[in-house]
């Protein structure tokens, strides 16, 4: 499952969806908005997405993670729009037979998202706004 959405999401909902007879480990990564960056106080992040390409790239990352680490499934949910400090940004949920491959697949997914997915953020800080 891949989703790019403005709305908030429930971590528990997606963790519950991943449960199943053949899942012995569920690993999650939740990215949230931090209140400081490079010495500046951040009060909001604004995310912009190239939707068509981001959906395609996220699905490729999901499929590669499933194949490479032999996990049962991967969910990736990424928000866009304006997000305040503490709000949820991105959720990765990996379900697998065992924890080792679940951790590895989850780490792989967030690294690949940062490297390959056309999503950008603008930091709104106490000293101005910056695309990072």
């Amino acid at each position: 499952m891949i989703r790019i959405q403005r709305e908030d999401f429930s971590v528990e909902e997606f963790v519950d969806l991943m449960r199943g007879r053949d899942v012995g480990a569920i690993v999650t990564f939740l990215g949230v908005v931090r209140g400081f960056s490079r010495g500046r106080n951040v009060f909001e992040l604004e995310y912009e997405v190239y939707h068509e390409m981001a959906l395609k790239t996220l699905e490729e990352i999901r499929r590669e993670a499933i194949e490479r680490f032999n996990v049962k499934d991967v969910f990736i949910i990424h928000r866009f729009g304006r997000l305040k400090v503490g709000e949820r940004i991105v959720l990765i949920v990996v379900g697998a037979l065992h924890r080792k491959e679940a951790f590895e697949a989850c780490s792989f997914c967030i690294d690949e998202i940062k490297r390959k997915v056309p999503i950008w953020k603008k930091e709104k800080t106490d000293v101005g706004e910056y695309w990072v």
Partner: protein, 79 residues
């Protein structure tokens, strides 16, 4: 005709989010036409990525047809 889209910082700097180019040819030719009207595009291409139909391309000789979409993309910062 091909459309060229801009995102995030590049969109803000150039002041438009898309432009249609009345030309079909190589990506290099499309970019050169664009650079005549918007010289800042040269720096965007050097700094970021260029995608054709949602695929990042490095070969500027790739052909761009009338239904194709080119995107000029800053370095990504999602997650």
């Amino acid at each position: 005709m091909p459309v060229v889209r801009f995102f995030a910082r590049f969109r803000e700097e150039i002041g438009i989010d898309r432009v249609w180019i009345d030309f079909e040819g190589s990506l290099k030719e499309i970019l050169n036409i664009l650079i005549k009207d918007h010289p800042e595009v040269r720096g965007f291409v050097e700094e970021g990525f260029v995608a054709v139909n949602c695929r990042i391309v490095e070969d500027l000789e790739v052909r761009v047809g009338r239904c194709d979409e080119v995107a000029i993309l800053p370095r990504f910062s999602g997650g």
